[in-house]
């Protein structure tokens, strides 16, 4: 019974860990610029690595090596934001302007005006200008 439970808990943790790593990969591929990609890259480290390490800890059971996985997670949680911040800051320092909501609208309006939701005000304004 306990073994069964442990097995399914390990499986569940691994599945969710893989899921968040997958989402993070999709995010890195889909998101537009370096700043927004840094957001989703941290998902791999937080929940992706976190749940996978939790699965490892559960699979090992109550042993001294289990503590190592907890320590590992602790160090990942320290280094991940440091790395993300370093990437963002060096991007800012090398003069990369982050793509903000307004810029995105401007670039999208010419070919596809209706794609992004929640931007109707500016869209309407620009389109009105074009027609006039």
């Amino acid at each position: 019974m306990i073994d069964q439970l442990q097995f399914w808990a390990v499986l569940l943790c691994l599945a969710f860990g893989l899921f968040f790593t997958f989402v993070s990969t999709v995010g890195v591929l889909r998101l537009p610029d370096v700043y927004s990609r840094a957001h989703t890259a941290s998902q791999t480290d937080t929940l992706g690595a976190g749940l996978s390490l939790a699965a490892v800890a559960l699979a090992l059971g109550w042993e001294s090596t289990t503590i190592y996985t907890v320590l590992l997670l602790f160090f990942v949680f320290l280094t991940n934001p440091t790395a993300a911040h370093a990437i963002a800051r060096s991007a800012a320092e090398s003069g990369i302007t982050p793509l903000t909501a307004e810029d995105e609208l401007e670039s999208e309006t010419p070919d596809d005006g209706a794609s992004a939701p929640g931007d109707t005000a500016v869209n309407a304004g620009e389109e009105g200008g074009d027609h006039a």
């Binding site: 927004s36 957001h39 941290s42 503590i67 190592y68 911040h85 982050p98």
Partner: protein, 347 residues
């Protein structure tokens, strides 16, 4: 006699006043027109958190030193010019060689004739630099001299009070011993003995480096306990933010709304600010791009994450860790008007 140019590197030490006094006396013996260059070197890039206040400290020290020079030359009839400068503001100075190179560059560009060093010169927080710095000056062929000063015995000054020293040693010892036993086996006598030896060496050699601030006997353990309470809360926030971001990324239309914001955080000092900026970056959806003292520039990906940031839940939690429950009761950044949406060009 020709004018002489004297470079005095300054840092905030007990002997800095005497060093300036000696530099003035020695220079006026040899020449009747002297140009004093008072220079403070910053070990950190000014863009680090607290960089601004470090620069201000250095500038205050230079102003004080300028007054000292004026005081000392007051009763002579020499012509004296004073120039002050803060150097090393756009790079990290790691070791004596970096400092020596910065001073050499300054000496070359200003045609310096001699350098007067403070025997206690200590630009960083951790260690005195005088001997390795002198070696580097020798290697570079820079003429320098050490100011003869009277100073209190060094051990008094380094350690502060006896209890403070004991607390630092005590804390470092038990933290390193605990860590050693976690990695080793707490029931194995060999590990217990070697762990005690290692922790002893670590605490004696590194206690001052680990704790650059005084520890409170009640406050510091209490903070550790509150930090332990903070971790589950942070995990909850991380999971919540992860789910929100995952939904947005997997939706085919991907409704992101990246916006750059500036938040003035009400947490002070290195460690609390580090905890807050790290936590903000750790939750997907908000990313600290710059931290300049309490002004954090945060890139937010979705409106939900932005609202959470402006509601300041993490900020309150960090204040709870460091200042207790009463410290956490503050208005949200939105209520106290400490938030601002900025354009992409303002990074």
């Amino acid at each position: 006699m020709a004018a002489e140019r004297v470079l005095v590197p300054l840092s905030d030490t007990v002997t800095v006043r005497q060093t300036v006094g000696y530099a003035v006396r020695a220079a006026l013996e040899d020449a009747d027109a002297v140009e004093f260059h008072l220079v403070a070197a910053l070990p950190y890039d000014v863009a680090v958190p607290e960089g601004r206040s470090l620069t201000e400290d250095a500038e205050q020290l230079l102003t004080r030193a300028e007054n000292w020079v004026e005081e000392d030359v007051d009763d002579t009839d020499a012509t004296v010019e004073i120039e002050t400068a803060v150097v090393g503001t756009n790079e990290y100075l790691f070791g004596p060689r970096d400092f020596a190179e910065v001073f050499e560059a300054y000496a070359t560009s200003h045609d310096i004739d001699r350098i007067v060093l403070d025997p206690e010169y200590q630009p960083g927080q951790t260690a005195q630099l005088i001997q390795p710095l002198e070696r580097e000056f020798d290697a570079l062929g820079l003429p320098y001299e050490e100011a003869p000063v009277d100073r209190p015995a060094r051990h008094e000054r380094l350690i502060g009070g006896g209890t403070e020293r004991f607390d630092q040693l005590f804390a470092t010892f038990w933290i390193s011993y605990g860590f050693y036993l976690i990695l080793g086996d707490p029931t194995y006598p060999f590990d217990l003995v070697t762990g005690a030896a290692v922790a002893g060496i670590v605490s004696i050699s590194l206690a001052y480096v680990t704790f650059t601030f005084p520890l409170g006997r009640l406050r510091s353990p209490l903070r550790t306990v509150r930090f332990a309470l903070y971790i589950p809360y942070l995990l909850y926030e991380i999971i919540k933010a992860n789910l929100a971001i995952s939904v947005v990324i997997l939706r085919p239309s991907m409704p992101i709304e990246p916006v750059l914001t500036r938040v003035n955080a009400r947490v002070r000092g290195g460690l609390p600010l580090l905890a807050l900026a790290n936590s903000i970056t750790l939750t997907p959806g908000t990313l600290t791009v710059r931290a300049d003292d309490q002004r954090l520039i945060v890139h937010t990906l979705i409106p939900g994450a932005r609202d959470d940031l402006f509601d300041g839940a993490l900020e309150r939690a960090v204040r709870f860790v460091f200042h207790g429950r009463s410290g956490a009761r503050i208005p949200t950044p939105r209520e106290r008007d400490d938030t601002e949406i900025i354009g992409g060009d303002d990074v």
